[in-house]
Every structure is written in C-alpha cells, then in structure tokens.
C-alpha cells in the first residue's frame, strides 16, 4: 500500500527542512518531494551495511557476525581501553547523544562530535563573546540585509535561501528577494556569490583583518584603515559598513571559511564583536551555518548533561573540557587514544591523514548505517537504523530550535540507542561496576 507522509523533516543539513513529502510503499521509500538534491539522496537511501562484521587484523576481510558477538566484542574492546574516544554523533538524534554521554561517563572516556572539524571554533568564540542571534523565522520575516561570510549555501545548505533567508517572503518582507540585499564575502566567487547583490572577495586567510577594518570604520576610525585590507578596497569596505548600518534587520551567516582558516575561532570572535557593535545602529544577528542536521543537538545535550558542548574528557571522574587538548584530532595526533568508537560520523574520511593513521593502528568499533572510510580502519562494524528516517527523536536546527522527527518507515536493523544501551550494560559488567 502506498502512503504519503507530509511535513516530514529532512535528516541531512542544519536547515532541517520540515516541509518534505515522502512516498512510502510497503515499508520502502519510493519518492521524496520538496527536498533538495542532498536531502533527497539521504532520504531515498544508499547501499547499507546489512549485518555486523568483525576482523582482528585490519588488513584482512571482515567476517559476518551476530549483533550479540559484535556488541560483546565492542564492549570488551572499550572496557580494556585506558583512553577511549567516542566520536561522531552529528547524524544521530539527541536520544542517541544522551546514551553516548552515559557510556563516556561510565568508562571515563572522551566524547567529541563532528563540530570539532566544523563549528567547534565557533563554540570557543561564543564562550568569549556570546552569540547575538535569532531564529530562522525572524530572518525570514524581518531580514532586509543578509550576509553569507565564508559560506556557500547553494552547495552546502541548498534550501536555506529559499526557505529562510533570501527568496522567501516574510511578514515584514513581503517582497521576498526584491526586498533583501544579499552580500557574499568569500575567497572564491562561488555560485552563492554569483547570485549576490554584492560580492566582497577577500584574500585567503585575511578575514580577521577585513572584519577588524570594518569595525574600525564602524566606530568612526576609517582614517586608520589602509587603502586595501585583506584584498578588499577601503571604498568597498566603507560601502559595506554603510549597508549593514542602514539595514533594518541584518543577518550574518558564517561557515567554514571563517572556522577553518588560519585565525580559527578568533575570526568568529571578531565577527561576533562586529555584530554586537552594529546593534548600536540597527538590529543585527549572527548565526553559524551548521552542517549536519543534528550537530547542534549534540552541543545542546552535551551542554545540559556535562556543562560543555563537546570534547569532554571524563578521565578525571568529572567533565573536563579543553579543545586543543581534548578534541578528537589532538588526541589522535598525540597518539593518546588507545581505542575508539566512531558513531554517526566518518572520521576516516573527514580527519587529516595523521589522525586516520592512528585510527588505523588502534582498535576501532564503528556504529553506522553506511560503509565509509571509517569502516576501512575498523575492527568491529555494527550497522544501525537511520535516525530521522527509521528512528524517531529530537534534533536541533542551526538556530537552536528543537524539532521532533517522526519515523518514515520501520527499521529492519537495531537502533543506535539499543546498541549503546547493550554496550554500556556489558561494559559495566566487565568493569565490575
């Protein structure tokens, strides 16, 4: 029997689009409407890992095993570890995060999520300066000037501009695109830049300098700004600051162009200061363009459970947090981690070679629906149902709004929560707790 699920949520990017229609026929998804190409690909599904697998030697082939064997092996591997890392989490729901944090606490492990290679530096900047932000609904209804800085939503968040920030009509923005000025600041002239009213091309790694020049101009000290800063002519910067000051409601969205270039969190720190200072003239908000649909949710759950958003070390018996010391890549590159559980994230594909080299040398258990680069460095692989498609639960959109995901189809494999609960119970037994 064919049924249509309306107003379904997309479990891919931080836009968490909630207007998706999914066509289901005999517990199989046969069609997706309204989603972007990326969301459609995720919901329609790809080749899955069908059964748990194990191997002692990472150069040998996997052997199919039962869930019982794989869970026993994973629990033993983690219970024997002195410095375990539990990493990933962004493609899983908050209910999974909660179980993961309990396991980390039980073992005295370190738990970190994919923000570490995404908006981790943004979290550090928020510690310093706070975050003058808003919901995406406020952007839709009010923003007349929209800035994308080091962010390319045409590729990374394909429906952001359509649903929230540029093309959509809002309560006070009844003209839609014609009522909004769009500015893109980037190193490359991206597809998003090509659609903008103004493109500000910065020299790679010069964002901090450009933001500082803008703050000087904003505070009435244009005289100290040289003719060109970070590859941008002073004239263009003065015009840009005037546009931002003249906005009725300005929304600044930033991406990896700021978090991953040389100044890392200091870029965001500076951009937040610029936003705060613009509020002396008009209303201005700033928001990170979160990548995975629930990377923000891990930050929420980890914050309310441990006091810290990510990179939490339980080795001392109480949560300790110091990215640079306790973040996943720092641990792997120091060769400190002696076992890892990678869940709902792909460290094998998205970490630098040195980190993957260490993962290839230590025992690794992977919990994931899909075969990916982490599978290639794993000893134990436990396939699970896809959160947000086969499992219901809560996720947080990039603006911090929580949304409830319903199941689209019934799972045919164990869920992350079931697997984590069983591993935790067995780890407790093995540790004699």
């Amino acid at each position: 029997m064919t049924t249509e699920i309306t107003d379904a949520l997309c479990p891919f990017c931080g836009c968490n689009c909630d207007d998706i229609t999914v066509v289901v026929d005999n517990n199989r998804i046969t069609g997706v409407k309204h989603a972007c190409r990326v969301g459609t690909a995720k919901i329609m599904g790809h080749h899955r890992i069908e059964t748990p697998m194990m191997r002692a030697d990472k150069k040998s082939e996997f052997k199919k095993v039962s869930y019982d064997e794989a869970i026993e092996g994973a629990a033993r591997m983690l219970a024997m570890s002195k410095r375990p890392l539990l990493y990933g989490w962004a493609s899983a729901l908050c209910e999974v995060h909660k179980k993961g944090i309990l396991l980390a606490e039980e073992m005295g492990a370190i738990i970190d999520n994919t923000a570490t290679v995404c908006h981790g530096p943004s979290t550090l900047a928020v510690h310093e300066k706070g975050l003058p932000s808003s919901t995406l609904g406020q952007i839709k209804n009010r923003a007349d000037v929209v800035v994308f800085w080091g962010s390319n939503p045409v590729h990374a968040h394909p429906r952001h501009m359509g649903r929230y920030s540029v093309f959509t009509k809002g309560f006070f923005q009844e003209k839609g695109r014609r009522g909004r000025k769009v500015i893109v600041v980037d190193v490359r002239k991206t597809e998003t830049a090509s659609m903008a009213d103004e493109f500000v091309q910065v020299q790679q790694g010069s964002d901090y300098l450009v933001i500082s020049a803008m703050r000087a101009i904003l505070s009435g000290h244009a005289d100290v700004v040289p003719d060109s800063a970070g590859g941008v002519q002073k004239e263009q910067l003065v015009k840009l600051v005037d546009t931002l000051k003249g906005a009725k409601f300005c929304g600044i969205f930033f991406g990896m162009g700021l978090t991953q270039s040389i100044s890392r969190y200091k870029n965001i720190d500076n951009a937040i200061s610029l936003t705060t200072e613009l509020n002396s003239f008009t209303k201005c908000v700033i928001m990170p363009m979160r990548g995975h649909y629930n990377v923000a949710g891990f930050g929420q759950v980890c914050s309310w459970e441990t006091g810290f958003a990510t990179a939490v070390d339980f080795a001392r018996g109480a949560p300790y947090y110091n990215p640079g010391e306790t973040a996943a890549n720092d641990l792997l590159m120091r060769k400190e981690t002696d076992a890892a559980m990678i869940i709902a994230g792909d460290a094998g594909a998205h970490f630098p070679a040195d980190s993957v080299r260490h993962l290839a040398k230590i025992p690794v258990v992977q919990i994931d629906p899909y075969w990916n680069a982490t599978t290639e460095v794993s000893n134990i692989v436990i396939p699970v149902a896809v959160c947000g498609i086969e499992v219901e639960g809560t996720a947080y959109r990039m603006d911090g709004v929580s949304l409830r995901y319903r199941k689209m189809i019934e799972p045919t494999l164990s869920t992350d929560v079931e697997v984590l609960e069983r591993i935790t119970e067995r780890v407790k037994e093995l540790r004699g707790v």
Binding site: V187, G205, A327, P352
Partner: protein, 124 residues
C-alpha cells in the same frame, strides 16, 4: 611543470549527495578532483588530466578541473579522504585542523587516482 598554490577544501553539493555512499564511483567523481582557474590550469595541462597535489603533510592524485570562480593560485579540493591526505593536521590549540590555506604544489602525473579503499589502506 609544477604550480605553487594555496589549497583550500570545502563542501560541494555533489559531495553532499554522495556522502553516505562513499564506496561508489559517484563519490570519487564528486570529491577526488582539484579545481583551478583556466589561467592556472593551462600551465599544467587540460581539464580531466590527473595531477599530484603535494604538501608537507602528504600527497594525493586527483583529477584536474576548471573553475573560474577561483582567484589565481587558489586550488580547491572538495572535503573528503583525497583532500584530507594533504591538509595540515595542526589544530593550533583549538581542536580544528588546517583544512584551508595549505601551501601546495601541483604537477601532472600519469599515476592513477586511488579508490577510497586503496587510499585508506595506505594508512594501515
């Protein structure tokens, strides 16, 4: 001929579409390439040629592509295992490796592009 560039990595829509299908040729097609503008590209060869991208952290063979949105001497590789073979692992004390702004050299090669499985096998 060797071209010195500043390498940046990042998302693309095709990388997103294939991200949960990393054993596929579509994923390799979407991520194992390096973009240069036409002026820089002409120095090396034609679009579709294989090039070796070398940094002090490693080297990788990818396909050459043209993108005139790139300024001179900026090379772009989509995020993924091929890009991460050559990125800067230093987190500068804040947890984030250097995925953008890596000095790199690019030269044409006859070597083939490794499959994802083969690329990761180099680390074992």
């Amino acid at each position: 001929m060797t071209l010195k560039v500043n390498l940046i990595t990042g998302r693309t829509i095709d990388q997103g579409v294939t991200i949960e299908n990393k054993t596929s040729s579509d994923y390799q097609e979407a991520t194992a390439y390096c973009e240069l503008n036409s002026k820089n590209l002409e120095i090396l060869g034609k679009p579709g040629s294989n090039v070796r991208v070398k940094t002090r952290y490693g080297d990788v063979v990818v396909k050459l592509k043209e993108n005139n949105g790139n300024p001179d001497s900026i090379a772009f590789i989509p995020m993924g295992p091929w890009a991460n073979a050559v990125v800067d692992p230093d987190t500068r004390g804040c947890g984030m490796p250097g995925f953008k702004g890596i000095p790199a050299e690019i030269e044409v090669t006859k070597d083939k592009i490794l499959l994802m499985k083969e690329l990761i096998a180099r680390y074992k």
